[in-house]
């Protein structure tokens, strides 16, 4: 395994060189977070099944690691927090390094529990522009929802968000209360890729949940002439090591590569 270690160092050095030519927009540092979570889906205009809480301990752990940000829940989280329409409140999701939503969803979409301005659902194609246009600070998107990163409908090639990575599921997961926290904790020493795959499949102490976690990375083709740069980014970024991404951005426009890893449980959405 020793030669693999050196190969990793060479890969990291290559990525650092690419970083020098990254887009000039400077992301916030130290890192920040925005979390929206819906657990109450009964009688609020957006009917579905109620859910367990999965981001409370994630927010605590982020703060323990000196991240700053907000966690809005149920009536406090708005569907249009993820919109890019020039909204002006300070908690806008695209003003944070990490934007998280926990609730229900489907392919490329999210469902909130409380209707606001006639809205329950938002879609990546029509509504969200994380990482560019207004605000444009988000580098990571985390979706603790069903099927949001299912690519059966071939959505990745046409994503409108411009973030470095998205974390989500190919199928409908069962998520334990502390799993997102444990994912973040594991990125102290592991890549987001490995941590997401291993922490977000079965719940701790369960061996038949059949979750299919998926992580997708993006890189501008102007920055990386081949998809290799996407894989390097995919395998190196660590949320708890901000040095691995503090200088990394996506341009507002232009072609990009995407690359993904999925735990395939042979279970469609």
């Amino acid at each position: 395994m020793r030669h693999q270690y050196w190969a990793r160092l060479i890969g990291l050095a290559t990525l650092v060189l690419w970083t020098k030519s990254a887009d000039a927009t400077t992301p916030p540092h130290p890192p920040t977070f925005y979390i929206g979570e819906s657990t109450d889906f009964t009688g609020n205009g957006c009917e579905n099944t109620d859910l367990n809480t999965v981001t409370r301990t994630l927010a605590s752990e982020l703060r323990n690691q000196s991240w700053t940000g907000s966690r809005f829940v149920n009536a406090g989280t708005f569907p249009d927090d993820f919109d890019d329409t020039g909204l002006t409140w300070s908690e806008f999701a695209d003003r944070s390094t990490l934007a998280v939503y926990a609730g229900h969803g489907n392919i490329g979409s999210l469902q909130w529990g409380f209707m606001r301005n006639g809205l329950c659902n938002r879609t990546f194609q029509s509504d969200t522009r994380l990482g560019h246009l207004t605000d444009g600070q988000a580098q990571f998107g985390m979706y603790l929802t069903s099927c949001t990163l299912d690519n059966d409908a071939n959505q990745f090639y046409n994503f409108q968000d411009r973030v470095l990575q998205k974390f989500g599921y190919h199928n409908s997961p069962t998520i334990a209360d502390n799993q997102p926290r444990d994912f973040f904790k594991a990125t102290r020493g592991r890549s987001n890729r490995n941590a997401w795959l291993d922490e977000m499949n079965d719940r701790p102490g369960w061996f038949n949940d059949d979750n299919s976690p998926r992580i997708v990375s993006f890189i501008d083709q102007a920055q990386s002439p081949s998809v290799l740069g996407c894989w390097l980014r995919h395998n190196i970024l660590r949320l708890r090591a901000s040095s691995t991404y503090v200088a990394e951005t996506m341009a507002d426009t232009g072609a990009f590569w995407w690359c993904a890893t999925t735990r395939d449980e042979q279970d469609d959405c």
Binding site: D50, R56, G76, N121, R188, G205, F207, Q266
Partner: protein
């Protein structure tokens, strides 16, 4: 574990006699000393690496477990990640360096990977880390870790398997014990890549009980439960012994489990729910995930 309430869709159903007699089991969540945990992790690492750890490496493993740091503590194997979840007695070992060796094509077959995984499984049995009476590894579920990539503006993608994984859930008498198991991964280059095992310990059979609530009544109750949804999808159903983490040592009988999702008229799919119907007393099912509708966050 809570009684399930889905809005107004609370199931109620009649009780009818059933002649089926089933075993019930004594279970425990193991509680181990620090030295026992270190010993188990070291043994598992030596099986995983097919190498003996030095005393310095054993000390490094012990220090990592004491600090509850999930990391790569072995200087000779800097890519090997370890994690010990003490609350569920679960060990995870992963070779995090294998991503560099992918070629994007070729590699071993799933059958070859299964053969490698079975060899490791047998080594773990020989090392007394797992009990072969808990598993039918031949019937382990096959899972793949897939890589996929593409370019913006161009539909379609290229995908390939990077790793094969095989997961077996503990079982006795043909019934799954959802809270214990093993998963072994082999990458397409043929190297052992992943090992996770542990969970609840099956101490033995604790007598029998007679099923009172019939399978038909349970099916009717589930149908009533999901009747309000636009559609639903059952992901898994059948008898399972479920002993959620945190339970004290005790006797548990199987429940009839449904893992399912609901879909709204607007096309939104719920996160997966896992519920279980008791076979002796009719009533609302147990909810093995739980709900927190009154959760609040930061003031806005």
């Amino acid at each position: 574990m809570k009684a399930l309430v889905l809005g107004a869709m609370i199931a109620s159903f009649s009780v009818s006699a059933s002649a089926q007699t089933l075993n019930q089991y004594t279970l425990e969540w193991p509680s181990r000393t620090q030295s026992q945990m270190t010993s188990r992790m070291v043994t598992a690492l030596e099986v995983f690496l097919n190498d003996n750890l030095t005393s310095a490496e054993v000390a490094a493993v012990d220090a990592a477990l004491v600090a509850d740091e999930w990391d790569h503590p072995l200087s000779s194997y800097p890519d090997v990640f370890i994690r010990y979840r003490t609350d569920v007695d679960e060990i995870l070992i992963s070779n995090d360096g294998l991503w560099q060796s992918y070629s994007g094509s070729g590699g071993i077959s799933q059958a070859t990977a299964k053969s490698t995984a079975t060899g490791i499984y047998n080594d773990l049995v020989a090392a007394a880390l797992i009990d072969s009476s808990d598993f039918d590894f031949d019937q382990a579920k096959s899972i793949t870790i897939k890589q996929e990539y593409g370019s913006s503006g161009t539909p379609g993608s290229t995908s390939y398997v990077q790793e094969y994984r095989f997961r077996a859930t503990k079982e006795r008498d043909g019934i799954q014990f959802a809270n214990g198991g093993i998963e072994i991964g082999v990458d397409v280059g043929g190297s052992l890549s992943h090992l996770r095992f542990g969970g609840v310990k099956i101490l033995g059979v604790a007598g029998t009980f007679n099923q009172v609530v019939s399978n038909g009544d349970i099916a009717n109750a589930f149908s009533a439960l999901v009747a309000g949804a636009s559609s639903y999808s059952v992901k898994r159903q059948g008898l399972e012994v479920i002993f959620p983490p945190g339970s004290a040592t005790g006797v548990q009988r199987p429940t009839y489990v449904y893992a399912f999702t609901l879909e709204t008229a607007a096309g939104v799919i719920s996160r997966k729910q896992v519920i279980g119907y008791d076979l002796v007393t009719a009533g609302a099912p147990f909810d093995y995930v739980g709900t927190d509708p009154n959760e609040t966050g930061d003031p806005r």
